[in-house]
Symmetry: C2
Subunit: 295 residues, 2 copies
């Protein structure tokens, strides 16, 4: 499998889908729409929607069913990035090598663009529910519920992360932050794909475990990159966590232990997919990619 090529295909698929949702510009709120588009199309990895689709594809082919939820999750992800970057929270000037939303536009626009994207995700879900066949409603309502609960966890994780800045924190608190801030949404993605594909409870549990492991691996890799990544490739300053005395996996356990943990989690995550054989090849490669990525 040519993973890079498949990844690119997924990314193109999602970028094209997202473009359909960019709203008309000749209106009084034109700048707000531009601001949402700016962040949404700023070149993210599309990891979350890819997880939805690739999980679904282990079991089923017709991925159209996944698209609204893939779009919605990417909107939520971008909402969280815009708000996290705000002067009142992380006060970051760059993301993906470009000015952050409030730097490119202004603070009011960034706050409202974030609000707009969060709400847009639910507009997409609500439209999708209305258009659904009766027999699909039950699973989609379940997804809607898991979706809103995961977003809640993400907000909680971000809050606790902000609260503890510059403080020494316990292992439990660090785990709590990771599980909520990034883990909940990544797990949601895999579960959405699985629930849409109507998998058994056993499969759902296995895939949830895979998701939880790559979720933590993703965060640990983020912490490692933030410590020793390449600024130009990352598109944002390196070493900021240390300067801000942020408590991360790296600051708490050191680079060596962090890297070992990353190896271990990746291995365990891949193990969960074993029974799906080549059907899960992309998700296996994705776990490796999360470990090895340089941005």
């Amino acid at each position: 499998m040519d993973f890079k090529k498949e990844l690119k295909q997924y990314q193109n698929l999602i970028n094209n889908e997202l473009k359909k949702y960019i709203e008309t510009k000749k209106c009084p709120e034109e700048i707000l729409n531009c601001s949402m588009e700016y962040s949404l199309m700023a070149g993210g990895k599309r990891l979350r929607p890819i997880l939805v689709i690739a999980t679904y594809q282990i079991f089923k082919d017709d991925i159209q069913e996944c698209m609204p939820f893939s779009v919605a999750i990417e909107m939520v992800h971008n909402f969280s990035l815009i708000h996290d970057d705000l002067p009142g929270i992380d006060n970051d000037d760059f993301r993906h090598g470009k000015p952050t939303n409030h730097k490119q536009f202004n603070e009011a626009t960034a706050i409202l663009a974030g609000d707009g994207l969060l709400n847009y995700a639910y507009r997409v879900i609500s439209q999708n529910l209305e258009d659904s066949r009766k027999e699909d409603l039950t699973k989609k309502i379940k997804i809607f519920q898991e979706f809103s609960n995961a977003v809640n966890k993400m907000i909680i994780g971000e809050f606790v992360d902000t609260e503890v800045e510059g403080k020494q924190i316990s292992e439990e608190t660090l785990e709590y932050i990771h599980q909520n801030k990034t883990g909940a949404l990544l797990t949601l993605c895999v579960r959405m794909g699985a629930i849409l594909a109507e998998v058994s409870q056993e499969d759902l549990d296995k895939l949830t475990s895979y998701a939880e492991k790559i979720g933590l691996a993703f965060q640990i890799k983020d912490d490692i990159l933030s410590e020793e990544g390449n600024e130009e490739i990352l598109g944002k300053p390196v070493g900021n966590d240390r300067i801000l005395k942020k408590c991360t996996y790296v600051s708490k356990y050191g680079l060596e232990v962090a890297k070992e943990k990353l190896e271990e989690l990746t291995k365990e995550a891949i193990e969960e997919l074993k029974i799906y054989n080549e059907k899960a090849e992309f998700l296996v490669e994705l776990a490796k990619y999360i470990k090895e990525r340089n941005k």
Copy 2:
């Protein structure tokens, strides 16, 4: 009818319902929960949930069906107040005579509390959908869709309002701001009550017209109060709109015309309810209250 007494009863009903949704405090996000509770229970008029319930009661008695949507709409309203008050938007220090959320807590907490309340509204709706009987799903999904569209309009209205600050604007733009920023949500409330009660299209149109008229009346009254209200009763400074050169109904047309328009809209709104006789008495009195309130 003792309107003040009935209003108080509605407010108590809603306050008690909202309290059920206040989340556990012994957790790492305790302060975030306190911050959401602070704004949610800060003594708002509960106009929006009251509109849902009172509209429903023209047709049906068992208001339990209305409660989740009433809670959700009040959460959305409070999310918008918290974000509007932020330093990056209106930079207000007081609301309901108390420090605004970011003054009482801090900016990061206020941003995330607003996000949390917006998302909480959808958690409530999603839970309600999951628990619904099959035959109720169609109307509730329709409401979910109207809900997310109205919130979108509210965000757009707030954005355009922010954009035009200090500028002279056309009649059309002023109307656009009003219809979106406050009108859309108030109209949604009445429509939610009506759709839940399964009214005819004719009734829905009539009630929508009532809502649009009191929505605009509400905004005009707000502008009038902001110009000549009593600071102590309002709980916020008076004359700010003029100082900020905000384009309002009053600054554009003058106090006299604004007051005439308010009279006219109230009369027209009440006219729409005529066919419901005493069943709509509370909504008639509510329209008068919107016109006559001093806060």
